[in-house]
Symmetry: C2
Subunit: 443 residues, 2 copies
Amino acid sequence: MYDIIIIGAGPGGYVAAERAGKMGKSVLIVEKDQLGGVCLNRGCIPTKTLLNSGKLYKQAKNSAPYGVHAGNVSFNWEEAMSWKNEVVKTQRNGVSFLMNENKVEVLKGFAELLEGKKVSVNGKIYEGDSIIISTGSAPFIPSVPGADGANVLTSDEILDLEKLPESLAVIGGGVIGMEFASLFSNLGIKVDVVEMMEEILPMMDKGHARVMRREMKGINFHLSSQLLKIDGKKLTYLSSGKEESLEADLVLMAVGRRSNTQGLEETGLDIHKGKIVVNEKMETNLPGIYAVGDVTGLSMLAHSASRMGEVAVNCICGVQDRMRYNAVPWAVYTSPEAAGCGLTESDAAAVGRKVKTASVLMKHNGRFLAEHGKSAAGTCKVVVDAETDILLGVHLLGGISSELVAGAAAMIESELRVNEIKQIIFPHPSLSEVIRDAVWAIV
Amino acid sequence: MYDIIIIGAGPGGYVAAERAGKMGKSVLIVEKDQLGGVCLNRGCIPTKTLLNSGKLYKQAKNSAPYGVHAGNVSFNWEEAMSWKNEVVKTQRNGVSFLMNENKVEVLKGFAELLEGKKVSVNGKIYEGDSIIISTGSAPFIPSVPGADGANVLTSDEILDLEKLPESLAVIGGGVIGMEFASLFSNLGIKVDVVEMMEEILPMMDKGHARVMRREMKGINFHLSSQLLKIDGKKLTYLSSGKEESLEADLVLMAVGRRSNTQGLEETGLDIHKGKIVVNEKMETNLPGIYAVGDVTGLSMLAHSASRMGEVAVNCICGVQDRMRYNAVPWAVYTSPEAAGCGLTESDAAAVGRKVKTASVLMKHNGRFLAEHGKSAAGTCKVVVDAETDILLGVHLLGGISSELVAGAAAMIESELRVNEIKQIIFPHPSLSEVIRDAVWAIV
C-alpha cells in the first residue's frame, strides 16, 4: 500500500514523485521504458543538445563581422550525437538520484490500471491511496501511403540517426518539425517543410511566424500543403488543388502526437477524443485517480506536465492549488529562437477580448545589435488588457528569447499592470530590456 | 523657458528627456560631449560589444566537445573595434532619433547651473521650471607615482586601443576591471588583476566570487594588494606587508569612478563626499532641482540612472513614484557571466536580517549541461526572508546569467513569496529554471 502510485516517469510523473516524496508521502513510480520519459530521452533534452551543436557550427562560420575568423570549420555528427547521449545519460542519472533522495520507489514495467486504485505491474498487484496517470504521448503517424517506408522516421528514431542525409523533408511545421528543420538546415543540409496549415508554429504570433520563415533562408516552406504519398525519396503533396512533388533522402514525420491511453479505455476513466478528462485539480472522473501531462492533451509541454504533477500532489496532500493555463510559456530553439507566454493578439480576437498591443524591434536593443548584427530579425510584442492594463501576453522572436520568457511568465502569473512593469528595473545592456520597452510602447 | 532642463545626456538624462517629452513637457537637454553619455560611448555598450567578440573567439576554439571543429581561429582586433564603433554610432543615432521623436531640444555645450533654475550654456541663459542634473561620473585616478605614465589607461582610453598588448595589468577588481580582464584574457593575453580588497566584485555573493576567480584560469589575481607605484612596465604593490612586483605592457586603472560635480560646488546644492544628496523622489535640497544617476553616487549603474530619471520626471509631472534600491539588478559580462539582484547572504547578516538561503548547481540543469559541458561552473542562490518567505535576493554565476536577472528583479520588486514562485511555470529546458529550482530548495 502506497500513498501515491504514479504511472509514467516523464516530467509529469517524476516531478510529482519528487514533490510527493518531499512531503513525506510513500510513492511508487512505474515506468515501462526509461526514467525521464520522452522529454529527457527522446525530446527536449537531446534535441536541444543537438541544436546547440548546430548553432555553434553556424556561429563559428559566421563570426567574421565581429573580428573572429575560423578556417575549415567542420561538423562531426558522431561526436555531436555522442555528446547528446552523454547529456541524456547524465540527466537520467539525475532523475534516478532525485527519486532515491526523496525515497521514491521506482519500478520498471508496464502498469495496468485495475479497479479500486490498484495497478498490476509484471504480474504483481500494487495498491495506492491515490493514483497519478502520467503516461505521456507518442508520435502520431498519419495513414499516408508510404509512411511506413524505411526512410520515414519520427522524432524518436531521428535522434538515433547514424549518418547525416543529403536532404530532409519535414512533414509538419510545429515545434518538433521546425526544430529539426532548423538543426539540419544549420548543418548545411537541404530541408523542405510541408505544412497543412497556412502558417508554421500555430501558437506563435502570426507576424512573428512570417518573419521567422523569412529568416530561415535555407529551408523551403510548402504551406497549405497536404502530404498525399511517399514513394521512396519522392513525396507528393496537394497544394492549392494541384499535385506537387519534392525529393528528399530522409522524411521526418512530425504531424503531431497522440496521448498514451492504451489499456485505460476499459477502466471507466472519462476519455474524450483520446485524452483523459481532468478538472483544474487534475482529478479524473474516478475518485483518487489523477492524470497529468500529455495524456490530458491540455498542454503538450514538459513544464506544463511538471506543474500539473505538482498540482495533483498538492491536491492529494490537501494543499490548495489549481492548474492555470494563462501563463504557460513555450519556446522553440530554432535559429532564430522564438518564445512566448499568454495571449496572442489573434487569441484575443478569437474570444472577443479587447486588448492593446505594442511591438519593439530587437535591433534597437544595444546587446542584440552588438551580438547579432544589423540585419538580424528580432521582435518583442506585448498584449495587455484594454481596460485594466494587465499584461496578458509576451511574444518574442530572436536572440535568446527562450531565456527571457520565464520573466514574462512571472509577470503574467502575477497579473502585473503596465504601470507596475514600468517600475521594474531591467539590467542594461541586456536583451531582456525589450520586454520593458514593448510595455513602454503601449499607449 | 522650458518645463524641464536636463544637464547631461547619459542614460539618466536621455531617458528622463524621452519620458518627459512623451508626457508633453517642453524639454531642453544639454550635453558637453556626446548623446548617450559614458554608458553608450565609453562604457556598457562598447565594452559588451568587444566582450561578445572575445567570447565568440573563445567559443570557436573550444567547440570540439560538441562536434564542431575550427582550424586557424584568429582574432582581428581592428575589425572588432570597428564593429564596436559601428554599434556605438548606431545606438547614438537611436538616442538622437528618440530625442527628435519626443520633441526634446538638444544643445551641445557645458551647462553651468545658475541661481533661480537657470543654466548658462555657451554664454546664453536658459530657464526651466525644473532642472534635472545627470552629469554622471568619470574614472578616478589614484595618486600613485607613475599613474600618469603613457602605458596607463582608464576605461575611456582602452576602448580606443589601436593594438593589443602582450600583457595587461588591471588595477581594481570591480565590474569595469573584471570585464576588461576577462576580455583580454579570452583573447589570449596575459592578465594580472591587483585588488586592494580581499575579494573581487564586492556586490557579489562571496562564494560565487571565489568560484568565478577559479574559473578565470588565465588571470593572475593579487588580492589584498595595494598598488604602490608604476615605473614603466613594472608595477610595485604591497601584499601582506611585503613589496611585490609584476610586469605588464599596459595598465588599466579601474579603481572606481568619481561623480561629476565640477562647477556645482558654489550653487548651494547639498553635496556630500562629492555626491549630490537626493531624497527618494530624486529632489535635491534646492526646490525644483533634481539629480539622478552616478552624480548621486547611490547606484552607479546605467539602468539605475534611467529609473531615477523616470522617478524625477514622474515627480515633476505629479505622478506618484519613488526610487527603490532593493530590486536593482547588476550583471558582469565576463566569462563566466554573473548577475544578481537584491540582498546577498552577507548583506542580510550585516544588517541583522534573518534570512533563509538555498543554492543549486547549474550543471544539474539540462540546458546548461548541454551547452556548457560537465565541468563548467554555475550556481544560482536565492535569499528569502526567514519569516515571510518573501524573495529578497537572487544571485547567479554562469551561463547567460545577465539575461535571467530581469526575471528575478520582477519577482523581487513584486515581493513574491516562495509559494507564489513555485506556481510560476518556467520553460523547460531553459537555464531560467535554476531560479525556480533554487526557490524549491528553500526549506
